[in-house]
């Protein structure tokens, strides 16, 4: 609530981010002793979910050993994975729950913190109604925790409003896939990638954001496959692209419609597949007719010949895989964009067979599993709809409540923040989410946080959002609690507990269960362990699309992961979806979906003539709560830079390393320039992992895709100029933008 209790400098001094460069005890001390055990688990820093073995000694993680038998990554790791273990035993780690006092955050007892939390929940809900209290979850939580949080919001709090930071990840893709196929999952496992004749990668910086996928792509090229990359920036995989399409930010739909136009014009569609297994083709074909390559080229800035070539390579190939990630999805027409990809796959019959299919590259640690079992605002376990009467009755039955007690769908992540700002929502419990860094329009987020009457945060480090909290509950790291994850492939995996939480920190699920008990709802939360939660989750998901009934920790350990759906204990899992050409839709067919072109929510004009786009770097993860504390990763890319093309730089007399100010309709941010020929001259790129004065999300806007509610991080209008009197201090503290006046209680 309100502004931070003491200055940002003081909070930083106390809670970091400080940089940890060494294992526990230093390079030459405890970490050189043999490990007591090697625990097979996974990296926590992205949706690839690479297998890794953590070296454990005296309840500390002292290093890692590659896990070469794990079938996804065979021991491969990106730098985040290599340094993943350095988050454990970090000096910034919260070792006790903290209460906000007038002189800052002070350690307190769990009883005081939790009773205070429960008291505030009761006050706020009593005064303003159940829905005045909201819950934020995160897509780096285990599937059990995600399930628990959804049940907690609906059964213990009775609020409509729970959503999670996966809303900022790939929800537009999920919505498009549900519309087309009735299921929200990549259609193939990664082992299919090397079999494709053509790989079309759009809006996906694979080399930096999904590094292990690179090896699969290179294998495809070794086998003679051709790689097409569409992106406003030449990302690392572009070095070996057979065709590069440098499209303008926000024009992906125009590119894809142009490609579909060429496919249909040339008669390269799969007529038999379309007529037997799909609906809605005629409408989509009629629409694509309007998008000849010339029109598409004018909109995208990609030569018409290149658009034709890409379309023909896909259309003429026997097997094409169409991969996409945030570049395509983080747009106010994100669902349209992803539907357009699906439409090309369906038109060419590239689905349900080997080496082909549309593929979303989910980005967050448990981005897939975290969205399947109930922390989304409109969903119940098993990817069931919260508005489906049969689903409500089934899940209510498992939970031991009446269906009418289940709240209706609530607001999505950004809408919750909007409702906090407007005063409709007064209290928030946030776990595994750092909205001050990760939501768009950070100044708005800060204002909203200042209006909360209560903010409770569960986290292992003091995130920038936690600075605004009334109570900070010291939770657990990935390696401190058993649980399931689900990788971008749809492979359900086991995060093995390696160590206990240090100090008085507690497991995340214990904290939520304890609060539920103190709220008098303990009878619905009898869980003693994650295994208990999984038992209920399996049953709750049973019969749903994301059916986990056949999945247990023991099976996963033995089989090195199981692809859902897996409806019973004998079922082998489902690596390739739709192999029988049956889709999860009401009629069993795949649906073409018409797409409507519309401009970005933050269009360029004379005052803001350039595109700003944001994204990740290989050495940082999401809002940086973890990775901005790991020295080796910070050194690799210490602070955000604005990438711009030499042609633009020359016009503005900007040289590499100069301080530049990037201004949008929200705010301005001053960072150093990085002058590179690998970006379009009309586009500026800034990575978003940082807080404070150089936070890229001060610049982004809150326009949402109307159906999926994903923000448009990838397209803002901006201008750039030489900075006058830049603040060159190296840290990421808050400066000239102070907190809004204190509001509420």
């Amino acid at each position: 609530m309100a502004k931070a209790p003491v200055s940002e400098e003081a909070l930083k001094e106390q809670f970091g981010p400080h940089l940890n460069y060494v294992p526990p005890g230093g390079w030459k001390d405890e970490s050189i002793h043999p490990a007591e055990k090697l625990v097979k688990t996974h990296c926590c820093f992205c949706g690839q979910q690479c297998g890794i073995q953590l070296k454990v000694r005296k309840n500390r993680i002292i290093g890692f050993e590659p896990w070469e038998d794990f079938p996804f990554n065979h021991g491969m790791l990106c730098p985040k994975g290599v340094k993943r273990y350095m988050q454990s035993g970090h000096p910034d780690r919260l070792l006790a729950p903290m209460m906000r006092r007038t002189d800052g955050f002070q350690p307190a007892t769990w009883d005081e913190c939790l009773d205070f939390t429960v008291g505030r929940i009761r006050d706020i809900q009593g005064k303003y109604g159940k829905d005045a209290f909201a819950v934020y979850g995160g897509a780096s939580l285990s599937t059990e925790k995600s399930y628990l949080l959804g049940k907690f919001a609906r059964v213990a709090l009775g609020t409509r409003h729970i959503d999670y930071n996966g809303r900022l990840c790939m929800v537009s893709a999920g919505t498009a896939y549900k519309l087309a196929f009735g299921i929200d999952r990549s259609t193939i496992p990664w082992s299919e990638i090397p079999k494709a004749e053509v790989l079309f990668v759009i809006g996906a910086n694979v080399g930096e954001c999904a590094p292990i996928t690179t090896d699969y792509i290179w294998q495809c090229r070794d086998n003679g496959g051709r790689l097409i990359v569409a992106d406003p920036r030449m990302t690392p995989i572009t070095r070996n692209a057979d065709l590069y399409l440098p499209l303008r930010p926000g024009t992906d739909l125009a590119l894809l419609l142009g490609m579909l136009h060429v496919i249909l014009h040339d008669g390269l569609e799969d007529r038999e597949f379309i007529s037997r297994y799909t609906t809605g083709f005629e409408d989509v074909a009629a629409d694509a007719k309007q998008w000849d390559p010339r029109r598409s080229a004018e909109m995208t800035g990609v030569p018409p010949e290149a658009i034709e070539k890409a379309a023909r390579w896909i259309g003429k190939s026997k097997r094409a895989i169409l991969m996409h990630a945030r570049g395509l999805e983080h747009q106010s027409k994100g669902v349209e964009n992803c539907s357009a990809i699906v439409n090309i796959a369906l038109a060419t019959g590239n689905i349900g067979r080997e080496g082909s299919g549309p593929t979303m590259i989910t980005g967050q640690g448990n981005g897939q599993g975290g969205r399947e079992h109930g922390q989304k605002c409109d969903q119940l376990p098993g990817q069931r709809s919260l508005t489906d009467p049969a689903a409500r009755e089934y899940v209510a039955g498992i939970w031991g409540i009446r269906p009418e007690e289940l709240p209706q769908p609530g607001y999505s992540a950004q809408e919750i923040m909007n409702a906090i700002h407007s005063g409709e929502i007064r209290g928030l419990l946030s776990m595994c989410f750092n909205p001050l860094v990760s939501l768009p329009d950070a100044n708005f987020t800060r204002e909203a946080l200042s209006k909360l009457e209560f903010l409770g945060v569960v986290d292992f480090f003091m995130s920038e959002t936690a600075h605004h909290a009334d109570v900070v509950l010291a939770g657990s790291l990935h390696e401190e609690e058993d649980g399931l994850g689900c990788s971008a492939e749809g492979r359900v995996i086991h995060w093995q507990k390696s160590i206990d939480p240090p100090g008085q920190a507690r497991c995340d699920s214990d904290i939520i269960i304890d609060i539920a008990h103190r709220l008098g709802r303990g009878q619905y939360f009898p869980f003693k362990s994650p295994a208990d939660i999984l038992e209920e989750l399996r049953v709750a998901s049973r019969g749903g699309v994301a059916d986990y009934y056949g999945i247990t920790y023991e099976r996963i350990d033995k089989e090195k992961g199981i692809f859902w759906p897996c409806p019973d204990l004998k079922h082998p899992g489902t690596p390739i979806l739709f192999a029988d050409k049956r889709f999860y839709t009401h009629d069993g067919k795949a649906h073409f979906n018409k797409t409507e072109w519309r401009p970005s929510g933050d269009p360029i004009d004379q005052e803001y003539p350039l595109y700003l786009t944001t994204g990740r770097v290989v050495s940082q993860y999401l809002s940086g709560t973890q990775t901005r504390r790991i020295g080796a990763l910070v050194d690799q890319y210490p602070e955000p830079r604005a990438e711009l093309h030499p042609r633009l730089a020359q016009q503005l007399n900007i040289k590499d390393g100069d301080w530049v100010t990037v201004t949008t309709r929200r705010d301005d941010v001053t960072v150093r320039a990085m002058v590179v020929k690998t970006i379009r001259p009309d586009t500026v790129f800034i990575p978003y992992h940082w807080a404070g004065i150089r936070s890229a999300n001060r610049l982004t806007h809150r326009t949402l895709d109307p159906r999926s509610k994903i923000p448009e991080f990838k397209v803002s209008a901006c201008r750039i100029k030489h900075a006058t009197n830049p603040d060159t201090s190296p840290d990421d503290r808050e400066a000239h933008h102070n907190d809004a006046p204190r509001g509420g209680a």
């Binding site: 030459k28 290599v82 080399g207 590094p211 690392p236 070996n240 002058v675």
Partner: protein
Amino acid sequence: MFGYEFYIDPSRCIGCRSCLQACEECETHRGKSMINFDFIERRESITSAAYVCWHCDEPTCAQVCPADAIKKGDDGIVHSSLKPRCIACSNCVLACPFGIPKMMEPEQQMMKCDMCYDRTSVGKRPMCATVCPSQALAYIRPEEIARRKEKPTNIFYFGEQKITTKVFMMAPAERDAIALDVVDYMWEEKHELAVAIE
């Protein structure tokens, strides 16, 4: 490890520096990375390259060492300088045609990649090649590398100096050695030679 070879293919490198980060985890030089890494010219392109030591059959570094501190094992691994012998003169640093040895401060000792001797000697793959996400650094069997389009070679020419190495470099399929001479690509040279012989 028996039957495995080390292959370097810079064309696969994505610049992630996972190799650098993983190298410093190794038992014999903890906290110090022995990988050589460069963006070729970041302003111009995203092209990057990571290298380990090539482990020459006749190591120049050892040949120029006045203290006889650099030893090659029977397995072909060229090791860091022997601490008691090394006089930190940097002859090896200057002489290596690949630019591999590093003079470490404050140890005052030349250290270099030993292909994770501590790991390979007990049946594990070297750290960098195990983690490399793009397999630009790969420690695999020859039959596995044969699936790639490029061809491995371990013959390098530096001026008149011919060097053969333990580590392989991936080269275009039509090349037998790493040497760059415009003459090799000229038609008239071969043509004239052919005419002269006739």
